[in-house]
Point group: C2
Chain length 353, copies 2
């Protein structure tokens, strides 16, 4: 077993890697906050595992270390933000913070983001709103990896969708999902390990379900969750994050892992914040959320089940353990961090120091 890694050490390593390639201290901290928080939730497919890829693109110039997201146009309850090819974490935090500030004045706000890149876990941005006492929604588009009913190839991204809702005595309710049956990261992980996958995750080159991940994503595609429903939600996200924001859509989006690192990927994202204080009181709203959560916990269990979880509950539990005892980073994440340390001549041992 891999020894666990203290949260502060992982954060420091990420910050060091980012500043080593020219990212300013504030943006490096923002990015490390997003990635390390994601790892504390146990969402290892979307945390520091991706940092090596981001750094490669920063060195290539497709991501701009000195990029500064800015508001291109705005109104009382909306803004379109140009991410300026800064790290997706930097432009997305800027965009959600813009949405939060506007929603506090008007009740709800939408911010569309263009010229972004892969932004990691959508849930982080949604949680940022919940942490400020608002309901947060975050979603993004990506290069197509998911097929649709009647199609043989990918037609939409796995287009993450996340929300977070403040509660009272309970942690925020939080869902972060891909609209595919599973995230592409899980297929990559199986491919890396040479393991077969369940039959409802992907289709092969012939458009039929397969348990062999070895060709993905060059051939075949992920299956959308719940068939036409997942496909339909993917297109709503494409409209909100890509079409309305003025970002690239579908095949215009760059592959953040495999395309020429000197090119911007032009991902889009969108963020909605809803101000509870405007419409209710924090106390009353949170008490009602607690009531809902208590009711769910108390519902009769199915055979073999001793607990009903609410969305985010597992992640908050893992985070509490990680903050106390460190993060049990899996080997595929460590392999990426090891590669990153080699790339930049950093000392990986500081993770355990």
């Amino acid at each position: 077993m891999t020894p666990t890694i203290p949260v502060a050490n992982l954060h420091r390593f990420c910050t060091a890697a980012l500043t080593a390639v020219g990212v300013g201290a504030a943006d490096a901290k923002t990015t490390a906050d997003v990635l390390v928080t994601t790892d504390t939730w146990g969402v290892f497919t979307h945390g520091t595992k991706s940092l090596r890829g981001y750094v490669k693109r920063l060195r290539g110039g497709g991501l701009r270390a000195a990029g500064k997201p800015k508001v291109l146009s705005d109104g009382p309850a909306w803004a379109i933000v140009d991410g300026d090819s800064a790290l997706g974490m930097v432009s997305s935090v800027f965009a959600m913070d813009t949405a939060i500030a506007k929603a506090k004045k008007t009740g709800i706000a939408y911010v569309g983001l263009r010229n972004s890149c892969h932004f990691g876990a959508a849930g982080y941005y949604a949680w940022r709103a919940a942490d400020a006492g608002l309901i947060g929604l975050a979603n993004a588009n990506d290069i197509p990896s998911v097929t649709a009913p009647g199609a043989r190839t990918a037609v939409t991204g796995s287009n993450p969708f996340a929300y977070a809702i403040p509660a009272g005595k309970h942690p925020p309710m939080m869902l972060d999902m891909a609209i595919s049956t599973v995230a592409g990261g899980k297929v990559y992980a199986a491919r890396t390990l040479g393991k077969p996958i369940p039959g409802d995750w992907i289709v092969g080159a012939d458009g039929k379900p397969t348990t062999d991940p070895s060709g993905f994503p060059q051939v075949g595609a992920l299956l959308p969750m719940a068939g036409h429903k997942g496909y339909g939600i993917a297109l709503l996200i494409e409209a909100l994050s890509g079409v309305l924001s003025g970002a690239a859509i579908t095949w215009q989006v760059g592959n953040w892992m495999q395309s020429d690192p000197s090119l911007p990927t032009r991902h889009g994202a969108s963020f909605i914040a809803i101000d509870i204080d405007a419409m209710s009181s924090q106390g009353e709203f949170r008490a009602r959320m607690d009531h809902l959560i208590d009711e769910l916990h108390a519902a009769p269990k199915s055979e073999g089940s001793d607990r009903i979880y609410v969305p985010g509950e597992i992640e908050w539990g893992k985070r509490a353990v990680a903050l106390q005892s460190g993060i049990p980073l899996p080997e595929d994440v460590l392999a990426n961090l090891r590669g990153l340390a080699d790339d930049l001549h950093l000392d990986l041992q500081t993770l355990w120091a």
Copy 2:
């Protein structure tokens, strides 16, 4: 085969039934617009089939024929609307129209609705926004009928979620889905016909999947689509439509079909409108949506498929046929209309006149 029914005749019959029980002309027209439009889309589970139930509740007093929805509190980009126990169609049109008007000033608006009832097809309200050139989202809560991972009984409503997005040469993209694998109405329809159902629609009293709909909904529950993802979306809808709006939530919501018709059901709903004109131009946005739709249509087809549909395309196709050739109402809908005609001593033959 049942002969098809001219749209105008069905609309006139609905209006006559509603005015016969004291609903004013404008509200009767609004309600008939919603229900008949839904039937033209071929969404027969949520159209005029429900009218007999609404009329029963209007006669019982739980729905108020003279109810007048009003804005309880509001701000620049939000409102909380009290439905005053008017028909769900009347209060929901009022709420979405309020959201549209506010969004045109601020860019986006949220309207939460309390003291509503079953509102029919969520897609109608989303489409109302799209028809005015905005992106529309509509959702609602309902009495629990859907279980969750780890649970044995229903814990959330089937909580409909709908969106509609304007396009250019193509009709609006439109999705209207329940967060259950299927809508409860499909299980009722199978129960009425005494037919078995697919194994992933419901669980029985023991919490295990069953193909027997005969006990539903008194025992067992619908399964959420895509497991924890559908469950998670159900809870977002509960928060937006129930908790934030100040409506009843989960088991506090009344059963609009089976509870004492003298009691209000206190359903909640929520409506979000996003003004495309504020952030883009209608022309540019619609051209980009057309590009997306054309791309989806042109994608390689899976074996046995000759067409890839975008959300709403099937419904718009059915509507075009219905407007020209009449609506092919299925027998279960006709049976309900026959019962309604008997209840109110109306002449059902006017449907074919």
